[in-house]
Point group: C2
Chain length 197, copies 2
């Protein structure tokens, strides 16, 4: 086995996701992941600090991408629309990794500790986006609210995208969820509009 | 020392909050809390499972209160307004405990593990409120978005209430933050309205 392994990271990630789904996250060892990927444990630890990092290594890149997109939005964009545009752009990247995004979500949904980590990741994304909005001259509490509302839209859109079998893509779900949030906060979605039997 | 201690829970909570602030959460022992409260460790454990529960025992009651308030909102109320009214009612209860709410927040802000627990509590509150909205006939994704947006409003209002020295009360901050969210999602808070130098 040569020291340089083509796409070792991708192979390790895929092997890990398969094993986390088959056996559970807790029950899977790094040795098993490396074996399934046809690599050594040493190679695993060149790419990931531990088996949890396989699920979260993308968080930093996602945050950088969102911060960069938001910072370069036109000055004329309303904060919520600038946030939504950044999330849609990130959604387009995730769309290309739908299968592994689905697997990752299934693993996280089955483990309380991983769900906590995911909540922290989302809170951190909201906080980073609020900071960018403040630098763009948006006052508080609008900056915090636009960022938090954006993350709420993203979470709900992501859940629908993951759980639906439709052909709609993630950016489309994000746009729809933003429109729905606008309707909800405008009070246009009262139960009276959808009468119960 | 008699077996029945008047307001033992309140005395233990107050002693714990003081010690967590003075020495840090990690460094404080149950023995020290009991001593400061003039009670025994045995009494502590009759009221709290561990020293973390002193900070989170109210979460269950808060959730029950929010769920009950939301379930009894008038049928005609728009989901976001029903959610906000429930949060305002909860805010009025917290207002009466401002000093201990402030202390609790300072302890949580200083400890990453406690911050995680707080995020989980808020996610759980959002999830419980979304369930009530669904039972009231609100469809998805509106139910989830109204609940998540409500929790975002509550978080931001709570932070402002805790950090400001003004005399405004928490329900007032919640109303203001909701109005601000409505303005933000309506696109009425663009950076252009607040020009940078």
């Amino acid at each position: 086995m040569s020291r340089w392994e083509p796409d070792a990271r991708g192979r390790l990630e895929q092997a890990a996701l398969e094993l986390y789904i088959e056996r559970g996250f807790e029950q899977t060892t790094v040795a098993e992941i490396a074996k399934r990927a046809g690599l050594t444990e040493r190679t695993f630890f060149r790419h990931f600090a531990d088996k949890r990092e396989v699920l979260f290594w993308g968080a930093g890149a996602l945050q950088e991408f969102l911060v960069g997109s938001l910072a370069s939005a036109p000055d004329s964009a309303a904060p919520i629309d600038a946030v939504a545009a950044a999330l849609e752009a990130a959604g387009a990247l995730l769309q290309e990794r739908r299968e592994s995004a689905w697997q990752r979500q299934a693993v996280i949904a089955a483990n309380a500790e991983l769900q906590e980590r995911e909540l922290i990741k989302l809170a951190s994304l909201a906080s980073a986006m609020a900071d960018v909005l403040r630098r763009r001259g948006v006052a508080d509490p609008a900056a915090g609210l636009a960022a938090e509302a954006g993350i709420a839209v993203f979470r709900i859109a992501f859940e629908r995208w993951i759980s639906e079998t439709s052909q709609r893509d993630l950016p489309q779900f994000i746009r729809e969820s933003l429109d729905e949030l606008k309707a909800v906060t405008a009070g246009r979605s009262s139960p009276a509009a959808d009468p119960r039997p």
